[in-house]
Symmetry: C4
Subunit: 296 residues, 4 copies
């Protein structure tokens, strides 16, 4: 068996990375959207809003565990794009990562639909609707609350994704208080948890274009129809655009308020208080910027 | 006292391992089924669905802490079987592990029944039933939701157990982002938590043949009768068969998408980013595959 | 300031340890009983049963952080007693530890009563009762559910405390899968959490004689009267006696099923997989038994 | 991009620290008050009291990750003041830290108001009130429960902040059981969680003058008016004064009961059981007191 498997060995690094990003986002959405499906179709008897927050948080955690050693576990086009802007990820790889991420989310949405087919059918009476008492489109992608204005929604997603990037960059910044080796996935999951707890009610905290687009396309194809793009006054593009803007805003905030002020390279030794991390990672001699070690 | 205890020392490794698997599953089910008993008999006043998810998750965590250093803490025949298929656990030990696991689950179910005897009696009015308003068989083993078709149930268990194996293999893969030494039990518990949160409502996320069979046999003997096998259209075999299939599917997915593409052995040093793990475990010089270090 | 403080330096080791046990249990009960007070007096609007479980769990965690480096953080007479029976703690120190633990719990109960005085007064209308719709004695100590027989209660506490000891001994067993250095308090807290989730509804999971006796004596003095000893058919002695029995049972189970079968000392190196722990603790050359390193 | 950013490099250490304290408190309040806004405006459908506890806890955690490596992450004037009293932080820096903390909280409150503008408007019908059925001032700062007397409120805040300091000092005390390197932020967050669970119902557990004052000033300016200072019988000054008193009380308790009794410096080696921590931090040769290494 082991030998058979080894024949499938792929050497191309980009292909490996795309596979890892694909599986990472797949796991993220499988658990995330799965928890929404469970809460929705059980009518809050087998879970509550906090379960959904935990589903996406732990989905993120295990999505990262599955992929981080191979691809750096961006799992989010807004993250990949921010790293490109900051010059820490190559623009040429960006489209490959993004396509893999969206495709992973799409396939995971299909898996959730398969696993919850009976439940969704019974809950909705076979009517796959985007709004109304037994709407089920929200299992897959995000929709704004009735009260939310378009600008309110854009601001909501910009702030949410900016908060994500500030925290994630801090967790990976070896000159600040980095997460312990091997626990980064748990802590990034905790960031997603707290964003869901504190910024989830306006529009469902997409904070990730792939998380929203992949499942939305699936629900469009799978029977919810073109209404998934029309609902909320054509909401669908906000989680794609505003999250990318927010990612950049958050990266700039962390860089300008914290990272650029770190002591210069030759003083690194004095400042860095986490000696273990120092020894274990093969950091380049230049200033190690957050995310740099995993995301070339 | 210490001397008296030392007289009980057993040298046979397989016996030790079976004892460890037995106690591990015992702890898992004691806490897991105990939490269902608490929520059921207190009629949701002393817990909620999330408590049950936490009960099985932390049950798994401490089941692993109790046994991992001795037996590798499979605690699940679907895990043991998957490792055999992948050539990482010996077929000859498999039946011993499985019997120990099922027996641990059986005895734990008996303990839960003992601890909750008064509560179950009062809640059910002394009628031990499998269905109906005061059904209590669900304390011990899983039953499908009314709406679930047989194929839906099989798909549900295959997906759930596959997700378990993908995550667990990633957590143990030293060439990806392995869990920190000593925290693997917590993270595997977190996998069980998120599966319960996102895949629990269809059929109670058995994802473990021993977890389901042991307590089901106990409830059959202890007064719930043969109905425990008849209920849900003869549901009982699904958590046994579908979970094993799912375990294999998940193992193959992780191997094919991630593990087989890891750089070859002589490049290991360059790739592995977790130096601590490197030093502390006596890994063989050959490629260390996930689970290999604990499971022979 | 620093100089002034240093004048209070005490050299006697036993006194230091007693102070640490005192403060540890104080923190445990302050958070634990505090959470019951919050849920009770807010009538479940500012918390739920799970909050109480978390309150005692995190109370245990921080009680241990506050004391472990000094006294080993037993925080529980049933733990101290079990260690004496196993020959790992001195009988002569036992009474000092127990008195400190009970006194810490007593004073913490008084603090909770002080902090929640207005709330308890408003909730109960000034009537401090042990039973009835606005009973508040349950804030301080445990009482059995109406349906629970005396033997049922004894069995409940024996099983609960046995489960505690099995898990705690496993977490400290360097030849199994020990908790990472510095995270033992979190994991012992998690044991208390899962016991509360899975064994809390019968009689409130005392699993600790000091946790129950100290606050009960306080509530007797503070206005709830002698009824705190009479309620539940004279329940008060069960959390004292059954927990000690349970502690011993659990210790024996872990020793007989797991610990005594560990390879003999000269083989330790081969077996122990956690090299870090090895280096950091000054283990004696003899077989290191669980708890031994902290509890002499 | 990287070059452009590096031009903004600031060398003055105090300015850096103030920026870090600012961003740390900003993150704390953004998540903390955000979770209150979510629970309030969704009328408990997208969260519950436990969500608010988690929001402030994880807000604290990531506020610390964002700032600890630069400023020591006090994030709380009561903490800074206590350290000054104990001679571990300089009085001259105190006002700069406090102003940065309050300003961070103010700006975060403004961000929450921006993000939840539509939601608050819809929930309150456009009436920004401090009390009544659709009061929304509680999103920003704390108000006492109706039953709470002034002295009860003072006692509540003194006990809460004292508990915070006892636990935080223990977590940083290298001669006790210090939190593992890199996980201090998580554990301090857990302290805030358990305080919210066990001491939150009386007056909303401010336990931090900056957390309360900054958002209160914002709500005063932003439309809730001078009533935010008048409500609760002029409650506003209690979270400022009582928390500072409580911080000092807690520091003294930990010092007097635990820290001063640690063995003298030359015996440090024998006592300290956490060798890893030893090696990784450049501790001065004198006795390392809690917080000293980060908060000079």
């Amino acid at each position: 068996m082991d030998r058979l498997l080894k024949r499938c060995h792929i050497k191309n690094r980009l292909v490996k990375e795309c596979l890892a990003e694909f599986l990472g986002v797949y796991i993220l959405i499988l658990f995330g959207c799965g928890s929404v499906a469970q809460v929705t179709t059980s009518q809050n008897t087998k879970g509550e809003y906090l379960s959904i927050n935990l589903g996406f948080a732990l989905g993120t955690t295990f999505g990262i565990y599955v992929s981080k050693g191979v691809s750096g576990a961006h799992l989010n086009p807004a993250v990949s794009l921010s790293l490109c802007f900051l010059g820490r990820f190559s623009w040429t790889r960006l489209p490959f990562y993004v396509v893999s991420q969206v495709f992973g989310a799409f396939l995971a949405a299909a898996t959730v639909a398969l696993q919850y087919y009976d439940a969704i059918f019974q809950y909705s009476g076979g009517e796959f609707t985007v709004s109304g008492a037994t709407a089920t489109a929200g299992i897959f992608s995000t929709y704004p609350a009735d009260y939310l204005s378009l600008w309110g929604g854009i601001v909501d997603q910009v702030i949410g994704t900016a908060a994500l990037l500030v925290c994630v960059l801090a967790l990976g910044d070896v000159r600040n208080t980095p997460a312990p080796a091997g626990l980064e996935p748990v802590l990034v999951g905790a960031v997603v948890l707290v964003i869901g707890i504190s910024m989830g009610s306006n529009s469902g905290y997409a904070i990730n274009p792939a998380r929203d687009l992949g499942p939305r396309v699936f629900s469009w194809i799978a029977g919810w129809g073109v209404e998934v793009f029309r609902a909320g006054g054509g909401w669908w593009w906000v989680p794609l655009v505003a999250t990318c803007v927010g990612g950049l805003v958050g990266s700039l905030i962390y860089e300008l308020v914290i990272a650029v002020h770190h002591p210069l390279p030759d003083m690194t030794k004095e400042v860095n208080m986490d000696g273990v991390q120092e020894e274990n990672s093969e950091k380049p001699k230049e200033i190690p910027t957050a995310w740099q070690q995993v995301a070339l």
